[in-house]
């Protein structure tokens, strides 16, 4: 579920900041310290390097807009169905009101929900893309994610376009309970329609892709691909660790682990992503 994974990752992120004398500079964003090899470089340099560590190749998590910039020709794309937002259909309240969480997330991220759907060209191929926003309540899937996903598929069907989904999600959105669960079915039904129309679907599983997302559209690509080191799984690592009462093996649920067990077609480094996807689209098209 979304929340627990957020917790798990924020712990790692905290780890980045604790053991350095340049704490302040790193916090202020002048320096970036790689969480894997601990190398410190200028944030600016790290950005130019597509947020990939130039020493160990660690792929840091980046927001959807960075992928749009990286992938779309001339950084040109058009967002569709921007206006759809969560309605708090169950009036859900835990320690906070869900409506308050939504409001705070929107204010913090400038996003309407955990998915952004766009149209643009990649290497000259027009495509529809749905990219999840992990920064919005852990990229959790509720009715808005389901609906925007569905409408993106409708756009593909209408204009005969390939569909690319960038998953980055902790799973279903608990505050929409069974409604969020049914989005697994809704998105899978739409992919069934897309498949019947023989339109390609590329699923790019980014760090992290877990829970309901993995149990639906993320694992249903005509091709499933990922970036190096991305976490991909059904149950979150902390939940599994608590269940089995043991530490998880090194590299468990990494993209490399999934490739080895037969659930991914290939892993692409971020710098090669555009070229590889273009090549893939060309092969579908010709």
């Amino acid at each position: 579920m979304a929340e627990e994974n957020t917790g798990w990752f924020s712990r790692i992120e905290k780890g980045i900041n604790t053991e350095t004398k340049n704490k302040k500079d790193i916090k202020e964003g002048i320096w970036y310290k790689c969480p894997k090899c601990k190398k410190i470089i200028l944030t600016q340099e790290h950005d130019i390097n597509l947020n990939v560590c130039n020493k160990c190749g660690y792929h840091a998590r980046v927001p959807a807009v960075k992928y749009f910039k990286l992938l779309f020709d001339n950084n040109k794309y058009k967002e569709i169905n921007h206006h759809i937002s969560s309605a708090d259909p169950l009036g859900f309240v835990d320690r906070k009101k869900y409506s308050a969480r939504l409001w705070a997330s929107e204010k913090k991220t400038g996003l309407k929900d955990a998915i952004t759907t766009v149209i643009g060209n990649i290497g000259g191929h027009k495509i529809v893309m749905a990219a999840m926003n992990f920064e919005f309540i852990g990229g959790s899937m509720g009715a808005v994610v389901g609906e925007k996903f569905a409408r993106a598929v409708d756009y593909c069907l209408k204009y005969k376009l390939p569909y690319i989904v960038l998953s980055k999600s902790g799973g279903a959105r608990m505050m929409e309970a069974a409604i969020s669960l049914m989005q697994l079915a809704k998105t899978s039904a739409k992919l069934n329609q897309l498949s019947k129309a023989k339109l390609p679907y590329i699923s790019l599983c980014l760090d992290p892709t877990t829970g309901g997302t993995t149990a639906s559209f993320a694992m249903l690509g005509d091709i499933n691909i990922s970036e190096p080191g991305a976490l991909i799984g059904f149950a979150g690592p902390r939940v599994i660790k608590d269940t089995i009462g043991k530490n998880l093996p090194e590299g468990f649920q990494s993209a490399e682990f999934l490739l080895e067990h037969g659930f991914l077609d290939y892993i692409v480094e971020r710098k090669d992503l555009k070229q590889k996807i273009t090549q893939q689209l060309r092969m579908f098209a010709n």
Binding site: A172, R173, M174, I179, A185, N192, A215, I232, G233
Partner: protein, 317 residues
């Protein structure tokens, strides 16, 4: 008789009943009137309690240790004319997922469901009704078999969730569930889904895409169990009662937000009080639904199935 905490008043009456019977037996006095009166009181008390169950209490009933599980429904509904089938043809036979052909009054149906165990040993054998990837793949194999021979599919949902562990992940738990959900939308035969106990998350939905989805009165269906929801959102297990409220997980809630098609009434006091009656009601309902669904063409049925799920979701625009 195992009583749940909120059934304590019933327990007190049953003690009185037992005492009255004992006195009758020991002294030879005619206690019939007293016994009848207490029996009447038990029923009244039960009515009173069960007409007003909280969501958490329904969760408790759905997990009652005496509640009938999938195979008992199948055996009763088919009157024993059932052949269990095993294995996913790839890895192994998952004991938490059962299935096979059976007949309902002469008509062949494919039955599939999660299976819980009735005692400590069997609970482990059945992995507490938590299926692994091979369980979902076995279910899909059986569904395809049903499609090939044009037999309707009935699925029984009763799971606290899909299995969680190293092996489940290695063998692609997410992919297995996703594949089932996806493939169920394409099946050309009628699918009736009945939630008979716990409907927890993707583990339940993995065999739960139905033309008709029916929930027994004292069952629950949600994206997460109240306990886990409490742990994550309230950071402690103690808020399970509040979580059960917040999740809107009862049959009534699910019907109100149009995520299920019908509620099946249970005998007073829950399915375990009168299983025979429960099987009878369930069988009649399944028969009715299959009959109705058979009148629709496969193309139309698939279209309606998809449309139903595509319409699920409430949002602002």
């Amino acid at each position: 008789m195992i009583l749940l905490d909120f059934e304590e008043p019933i327990g007190k009456l049953q003690e009185q009943l037992e005492k009255a019977r004992q006195i009758g037996a020991e002294t030879g006095l005619n206690m019939d009137r007293t016994i009848k009166e207490i029996e009447k009181k038990v029923i009244e008390k039960r009515k009173e309690i069960y007409s007003n169950l909280s969501p958490w209490q329904r969760v408790q009933v759905s997990r009652h240790p005496k509640r009938p599980y999938t195979l008992r429904y199948i055996n009763a509904i088919t009157d024993g004319d059932f052949i269990e089938m095993h294995g996913d043809r790839n890895f192994k036979d998952d004991k938490a997922m059962v299935g096979g052909f059976g007949t309902i009054d002469g008509e062949t149906v494919m039955f599939i469901g999660q299976q819980k165990g009735i005692n400590t040993k069997m609970r482990q054998y059945r992995n507490f009704g938590m299926a692994n990837p091979e369980g979902y793949r076995k279910a899909l194999r059986l569904m395809k078999l049903a499609e090939k021979f044009n037999k309707p599919i009935v699925t029984f949902l009763d799971t606290p969730g899909a299995a969680c562990g190293l092996e489940a992940e290695e063998r692609g738990q997410g992919e297995a569930i996703a594949r089932n959900i996806y493939e169920m939308f394409g099946l050309r035969v009628p699918i009736v889904t009945v939630i008979i106990g716990e409907g927890a998350s993707g583990g339940a939905l993995g065999i739960g895409v139905g033309d008709r989805v029916l929930m027994l009165e004292n069952t629950w269906y949600s994206v997460i169990s109240p306990e886990s929801c409490s742990t994550i959102l309230w950071r402690s297990r103690e808020h399970k009662v509040r979580a059960a409220d917040a999740l809107k997980l009862t049959a009534e809630n699910m019907y109100d937000i149009q995520l299920i098609d019908k509620i099946i009434k249970e005998p007073l006091g829950g399915a375990h009080i009168n299983p025979t009656e429960m099987y009878k009601i369930t069988k009649a309902e399944i028969k009715t639904q299959i009959k109705k669904l058979k009148q629709i063409s496969p193309e139309k049925r698939i279209e309606q199935r998809m449309k139903k799920y595509i319409n699920m979701g409430i949002y602002n625009e």
